[in-house]
């Protein structure tokens, strides 16, 4: 057999569990999907209109590598206002092609081969592969259902080795909707300081917390700004997934290193997406709040209905996912999701797609129209009754 022409470190990365599932769903008709990790809203009209206007004006060229200065200034103002931490738009902010690129840049900028990255599970599907692709070693810490999947600082201590360099956080969390309480977040900050770690904090869902539960950025805690890269974007809060636009804020030396990779691989984020992002920051608050309120109502409906159907489900404080506990059915997450799909044509994502600690749970997205959610819930109730 001839040797593979695909590089080992790429070949050995497993395909995403979500992608597997996606292909099964694609092959079926009339499926109601609660498996979608993006807003069902179209980008608010004023944002689209603003991008159209910029095209009409002929703004079609490259921007600065770090992103248009006007946008970086707006990001600095927004982050200061909503996260209570100030960044210099000149050298502490980089505009990227979604948070995904920012994560990749940060990991590649920080890791030497064999460096360990600690992150909490269940988590977004790309963390472990991104760490591997950057030459790092992923070290998962399981969070617990009894904590509503928030992270205990004490659990982190067990993971520390001399090789640990980076701690990755994602609150509110995809897929569990977990939001960190401030007290525990402070302990995590102290842990990062004690072990001299850099924290990558993916706060893409930070606008989406409900019932006045505040989002706290770890970057805003004392002593943390100099060791934190705050990752944020526009996809979730402003329903702009397809624009592929995000940003990172952090210490100038790390941003400079990230910029080096970005300038050679990407050059700059698309200019029309940058224009749209600027509009979102300057005038998007109202449309964001309208969408958030709609998510809140759907979350209430889906959680109440699942519990009534006998599927225990905590009321998550953020993001747009519920993570119900299906252990009572005696099925594995994957079997549950597959059978539900086959028998009732409802797509949910097995918890194991987000790491082994997701076993016993499934992710249902409520970024789906209310009437679809209602039908889906009825079918799920029927499914577990049989």
């Amino acid at each position: 057999m001839s040797r593979s022409r695909i590089a080992d470190h790429v070949r050995t990365i497993p395909r995403s569990g979500i992608r597997d599932f996606f292909e099964i769903v694609q092959s079926m008709k009339e499926v109601i999907s609660l498996g979608i990790g993006e807003p069902d809203f179209v980008t608010p009209w004023h944002i689209r209109e603003s991008a159209i206007y910029s095209l009409e004006k002929g703004r079609t060229g490259y921007t600065s590598n770090l992103g248009a200065p006007r946008l970086r200034r707006a990001i600095a103002a927004y982050v200061e206002k909503h996260f209570s931490v100030g960044y210099n738009p000149h050298d502490e902010i980089i505009v990227t092609v979604g948070v995904s690129e920012a994560i990749d840049l940060a990991l590649r900028a920080l890791l030497n081969p064999g460096d360990e990255v600690v992150y909490h599970e269940p988590c977004y599907v790309s963390y472990s592969p991104s760490i591997l692709l950057a030459g790092g070693v992923p070290v998962a810490v399981a969070t617990r259902a009894e904590d509503e999947f928030t992270l205990r600082a004490a659990d982190l201590e067990k993971t520390i080795t001399p090789k640990t360099r980076v701690l990755m956080l994602n609150f509110p969390t995809n897929p569990t909707g977990a939001v960190m309480p401030l007290e525990e977040l402070k302990k995590i900050a102290a842990f990062a300081v004690k072990h001299d770690l850099v924290v990558l904090s993916d706060e893409i869902y930070s606008e989406l917390t409900y019932d006045e539960v505040p989002h706290h950025s770890i970057a805003a805690l004392p002593g943390m700004k100099e060791r934190t890269v705050l990752l944020h974007g526009f996809s979730k809060a402003f329903a702009m997934t397809g624009w592929r636009i995000g940003y990172a804020c952090g210490p100038a030396d790390i941003i400079e290193a990230m910029m080096k990779i970005h300038q050679y691989s990407i050059l700059c984020a698309p200019v029309m997406a940058q224009e749209a992002a600027l509009e979102a920051l300057e005038r998007g608050q109202r449309s964001m709040e309208r969408m958030r309120e709609e998510y809140r109502l759907r979350r209430n409906l889906i959680v109440t209905s699942l519990n009534e159907a006998g599927i225990p489900c905590h009321l998550p404080k953020g993001a747009f996912y519920v993570f119900p506990d299906i252990r009572g059915t005696g099925m594995t997450s994957r079997d549950f999701a597959l059978q539900l799909l086959e028998e009732k044509k409802v797509a949910v994502v097995p918890g194991t797609a987000f790491g082994q600690s997701g076993e016993g749970f499934v992710r249902c997205s409520y970024a789906t129209a209310m009437d679809q959610i209602k039908i889906a819930i009825e079918r799920i109730s029927d499914f577990v009754k049989k």
């Binding site: 979500i18 769903v25 990790g37 179209v42 109502l297 209430n300 797509a347």
Partner: protein, 159 residues
């Protein structure tokens, strides 16, 4: 309460049980809230939003700018109320700017609206002048866009 009003404005036909679940309250609590809103006159009624061009394409809607001589006592209120009582009148608003009252009139035909303006509205003593504008097409009404946007395609499962 704001969420409840917003939901009812969006679709007042939503079953109460479902409203209660969305708002995270019991059905009894919800019923009490709605009853209070009705009693306090916050909620005045529940109506269907109709696409007139589909239901009755010949019907006519006119927006009439009316200049009025205000009265020494009561200002515009008495005259506005008097106009509001005609059943052809859908809406009456006191406006800032070049005219005083904005009157929205609906009729089955152009002639019907014209005769209302000529015989009823402009003959009221306090009315100085009327400028009548007929609606040609509706694009959005009560927050509903009349030409539905096509739902964009989304991938069935995404991370």
């Amino acid at each position: 309460m704001d969420s409840l009003i917003r939901l009812l404005r969006q679709n007042s036909a939503t079953p109460r049980a479902e409203l209660a679940r969305q708002l995270g309250v019991s059905e009894a609590e919800l019923a009490a809230k709605i009853e209070k809103l009705e009693k306090d006159g916050v909620i005045l009624g529940y109506q269907a939003v109709i696409n007139r061009e589909k239901w009755d394409p010949d019907a006519v809607t006119a927006v009439i700018e009316v200049r009025v001589t205000p009265e020494r006592e009561g200002g515009f209120d008495r005259i506005a109320n008097r106009i509001a009582r005609f059943e052809e009148v859908e809406g009456v608003y006191l406006m800032s700017g070049g005219h005083d009252l904005l009157v929205v009139v609906e009729g089955r035909t152009l002639r019907e609206v014209a005769s209302f303006v000529a015989e009823k509205l402009s003959t009221i003593d306090a009315v100085q002048s009327c400028a009548t504008h007929f609606r040609l097409k509706t694009y959005k009404e009560n927050g509903r866009v009349h030409t539905a946007e096509e739902a964009p395609e989304r991938l069935a499962v995404t991370p």
